[in-house]
Symmetry: C2
């Protein structure tokens, strides 16, 4: 039953929604060149129809009632670009229940409910496409679903939050402290007034959940992902890291070994020779290691109206082709049995330790002894001349691979050593 | 008419062919998990059935006659991994004519005959997939066909030949001369005994033709692409480039402006801040600028048995799904009218000029005058102390944007200036 026309409803007319509406109208020819069936935007859900917007959608398309989209049997595709969990999740679920296809940029909903929504869509014979939910216009969902399908994925290491990468880039290049770099990011519109979601790694956790679920063939939920933000980093850490040959990035990491999947988001030292160490500003880069392909990296702007619209419209073209061919509801999230999430305690990585210690003889020996007792071996040490005023010296230690539980135990013991200034004993994890 | 079984013939059992056969046999479970219909390798064309190979394909599958594959009505998919133009092109065309789908890694055939083969496949209702023809396992064809479909592509700038990138990386990092770096690449198996195709840019031209044809919606043939190899570069050029803030890479470049498409492969100065300047060793990186997505980069190993097999098997999974769904022959190479290829003369870029000149007063003024008369303005100059033995000085000039024809004219005039040592007057183009 070939459709004469494919009708679209957009939910949300913020930055991304306006971008999509603009492209649907201004680039209709380019889109239509890919699709045999005419595509038409018929309804847009907004909170305030009177609001002035960069791109004015014709007033008769606007509605403030979600029912005008969800209950309209003529609408084939719902593009959800409201963001946030509620009510977006309910709208997406409702759309699928009514047999509509969904295109969404909603990382939070896909991270929390992706597996259920994908299963529901498959049952209802419709598609839910979500390329725009991670990495703006950088192709990521498509590559995992198709291009890398022959691979067993070994690891994902990604810079997937532009706000924090901007802040860290400024801290590294200007010697800025966190607060100043955040304020600058806010002034430039790269960080929100309430920056919590970005700087605490919540946004990155959502994106990693989406990617890891696809890559490792088991549902990886936000709650499964260890998370640490960037607000405790100091300019000194960047100086020491550089001296040791590293950059500092907020990494989203997921790895599988023998059926154990680890997933974590935290600031991490990255060897300067790694491509990820070179990624500056608000850009994203996702590094994927597969057993066949080796290491591939996908790089680009991770957010913004146009890049995100690029992904949404690509999904729309694909979906419209599938609808025209009478072929939808094909995608299944393939789950492989016998896999589990590693607890963070069991994760093995390298560590960077920075400590202020009273300038006494034998302090380094005491610290090294604690580490040795926990089977943690030291790769390199930086000890600077003591500060004559405070009579404290700063010691920085890079370890070889160690288990998180051992590191945490060591750290508790090191903090309790009398010469160590407890509140100035800080550690970071390191890749490579 | 759902097929009970999808049967595959492989043509060619070299490094890539063996890799594909191995995956089809050893990873059958993983592949089959994606596809409802069982997939079976039934025939492999080889030149010498007795030859010892890393991976031994069961002897009863081997044949030395292409007819055993092309004329076998039970074979649904031909995987062509012989390489070279003849007889591969004839086999591909024959397979399509007999209604078989084709998966190929053959950049030469796709560069020279891609548009015709794609059209023929569409007419015959079959698919020709060629993700493996460019960039090994790095997703590139898929992204251009799908993920970036909403974009008007502005430019492609790519490192798509691993051999030359290895050589240039060694010249840059070790101060090696071209001959020594090539010999090293040959010793390591990165360059062939006859390295012409790589070092003269022919391989890169094929790959650029494939990508540009997809990106700009007009057939871009190898003959349309200006080409220069890397054999004339000297270690001095790398030193001067670094001093000026550039790396030197063999770039494949294609750009569109106002319907004029330029396409060229030549060594190029790349600003050190560009991601492409950071790509070392045999890796590839393709930088794509789109009107919506901004600048995205795809990076990874550009060749090798496993990465190339990763792309071929991904194509196979996609194709098998489409065959199962009864949906093939859908892809059309979309051509946009009114576009033409720019002659190289009209290309605008920046230039790096290196000249040996007799150490006389006023030489730089003479050179600058010639450039000025051709509307070429100078961005920076390096002039080193004259060599006391040869009484010649070396002058290096970076220009602002200039037209190729003007540059060539200037160069002819500069070479004719008495103080200029004609055979040591050399230029390179620069991006950024």
């Amino acid at each position: 039953m070939a459709k004469e026309r494919i009708r679209i409803g957009i939910m949300g007319l913020g930055v991304v929604g306006s971008g999509v509406a603009r492209i649907l109208m201004e680039k209709a020819d380019r889109i239509q060149a890919h699709i045999e069936t005419p595509v038409e935007l018929v309804r847009v859900l907004v909170r305030d129809p009177q609001k002035k917007r960069d791109f004015q959608v014709p007033g008769h398309l606007l509605t403030t009632s979600s029912r005008d989209i969800l209950d309209d049997p003529d609408i084939d595709i719902v593009i959800e670009v409201m963001g946030g969990e509620i009510p977006a999740y309910k709208y997406i679920e409702g759309a699928i229940q009514s047999g509509k296809h969904v295109i969404t940029a909603n990382k939070e909903v896909m991270a929390k409910y992706g597996p259920e929504l994908l299963t529901l869509a498959h049952q209802r014979g419709v598609d839910i496409l979500y390329e725009a939910s991670v990495g703006g216009g950088i192709p990521l969902i498509g590559p995992f679903q198709h291009d890398l399908a022959a691979n067993k994925i070994i690891s994902i290491q990604a810079i997937i939050n532009g706000t924090t990468n901007y802040i860290l880039t400024r801290m590294a290049s200007e010697g800025a402290e966190f607060g100043a770099a955040l304020a600058e990011a806010q002034a430039l519109g790269y960080a929100e007034a309430d920056p919590t979601n970005d700087i605490e790694g919540i946004d990155a956790v959502y994106k990693l959940a989406v990617l890891a679920t696809l890559a490792f063939h088991l549902p990886v939920r936000p709650a499964d992902i260890y998370r640490e933000g960037i607000s405790r980093l100091t300019s000194r850490d960047f100086r020491y890291a550089r001296e040791l040959g590293y950059a500092i990035k907020l990494l989203a990491i997921a790895k599988e070994e023998n059926g154990m999947v680890e997933a974590r988001v935290h600031p991490s030292l990255v060897p300067q020779g790694f491509l990820l160490a070179q990624i500056g500003g608000v850009n994203n880069a996702v590094c994927v290691q597969g057993d066949l392909v080796g290491t591939v990296v996908f790089y680009g702007p991770g957010a913004g109206s146009k890049p995100t619209s690029s992904a949404i419209v690509a999904d729309l073209i694909l979906l419209a082709k599938n609808i025209t061919a009478g072929l939808t509801g094909r995608f299944r999230l393939r789950e492989e049995s016998g896999k589990t999430i590693s607890p963070m305690d069991q994760v093995q990585t390298r560590y960077y330790l920075r400590m202020s210690v009273a300038d006494h003889p034998g302090v380094l020996a005491q610290i090294a002894t604690v580490l040795g007792e926990h089977q943690i071996s030291i790769a390199s040490v930086i000890q600077k001349e003591a500060d004559p005023v405070s009579q404290t010296a700063e010691i920085v230690i890079m370890t070889h691979l160690a288990r998180e539980a051992d590191m945490q135990d060591s750290l508790a013991k090191i903090r309790a050593l009398p010469p160590v200034v407890q509140e100035r004993c800080f550690f970071l994890r390191a890749e490579g």
